[in-house]
Amino acid sequence: MELSLCESGWFAAGSAFPLSCIHTSTSLQKLGKWEKKNRIVYPPQLPGEPRRPAEIYHCRREIKYSKDKMWYLAKLIKGMSIDQALAQLEFNDKKGAKIIKEVLLEAQEMAVRNHNVEFKSNLHIAESLAGKGHYTKRIRLHGKGMFGIMKIVKCHYFVKLVEGPPPLPEPRKTGFDQAKEYVQQLRSRTLVHTL
């Protein structure tokens, strides 16, 4: 009589055979795409290749805040170094600023602990996004027996830290440059359907 795997597992308390443990706790919630990005493993780099900078993906889900308001903070810190971003968020009065600061500090610690980043200041924010979370609908009572349906709004916040100094902002295109480009375009025209 064949014992099923689970039964043999339960009887494994005193047996000599080390059977695989059963997960008694429930599995974690379904991982989102952003969390899975931390799991990719690249093949080892060849000796001649330039060093690939470390990338750390972190997010926080279902924050009780509006995605439109969170977007302004995400736009503020995009492209800054992590120290500058933390400084800006510390002196910002918005509710989302405190939350994003916590997320950045968590990500920084993760970087140093798990992702082989040498200096915790040598990180910059490559991507910073705010997304819509689950909305719950509720009834909001108005006067004269009227009612409206209000949405209780939640958002997600995503951040990608990359090792290295922040990239320089692109220099603004001057009028002179645009004019030069135009002249170049005119000069590179060729005659078609001719001898």
């Binding site: 439109d68 302004y72 503020l76 400084a87 800006q88 510390e90 002196f91 910002n92």
Partner: protein, 184 residues
């Protein structure tokens, strides 16, 4: 007098009858210009019917049936604003959060502070110590309205009152003197 007129001009009699019917109904649009002294009652009735009408007409030209007409002149959006138009408005540089350029490092503790504002960390630590001193004071006084009329001086562990502290109330704190609380 009126009877004699009626006998002499039958077409006028018909006109008069029609005008009288109209008067009874309360409206007299076109004939109001003709105000002959023959019709004793007529001018009294005609004038209020005539004069307010053009005035009322101009006033009510927009509103028609009372208060309901006012609704037609409320501002309302003509078209749904597209997401591109909405984005142009929401992402305008005036609506973005400006980058602060007045952040410095506190020379005492090394935390960040704004240039014109006290360092938050240092302020919090001073506040905590002040709270402890105030607790000691309240323990000494033992109630409200018992503040003495002399100065107070705070002494920490291992400190003795000097000649300058004569006549002052002494408040003991059971800890080492903090570095930022200088003794004069």
């Amino acid at each position: 007098m009126v009877v004699v007129v009626l006998h002499l001009m039958p077409p006028i009699r018909h006109l008069l009858q029609r005008c009288w019917q109209r008067l009874e109904r309360g409206l007299l649009p076109a004939v109001c210009g003709v105000q002959s002294p023959l019709w004793g009652l007529a001018p009294a009735v005609q004038a209020p019917a005539c004069l307010p009408e053009p005035a009322a007409g101009t006033a009510e030209s927009g509103e028609g049936p009372g208060f309901l007409g006012g609704v037609l002149w409320m501002a309302a959006p003509k078209k749904r604003r597209s997401i591109e138009v909405n984005r142009c408005r929401r992402r305008n540089p005036s609506k973005l959060i400006p980058v602060k350029r007045n952040i410095d490092v506190c020379p005492e503790c090394g935390n960040l502070k704004l240039k014109h504002v006290l360092c938050g960390y240092c302020y919090a630590k001073v506040k905590a110590e002040t709270q402890q001193i105030r607790r000691e004071i309240s323990k000494k006084e033992g109630g409200a309205f018992n503040a003495p009329t002399v100065e107070s001086v705070v002494l920490y562990d291992g400190e003795k009152p000097t000649e300058k502290d004569e006549g002052k109330r002494i408040i003991e704190r059971a800890r080492k003197r903090p570095s930022w609380f200088i003794r004069n």
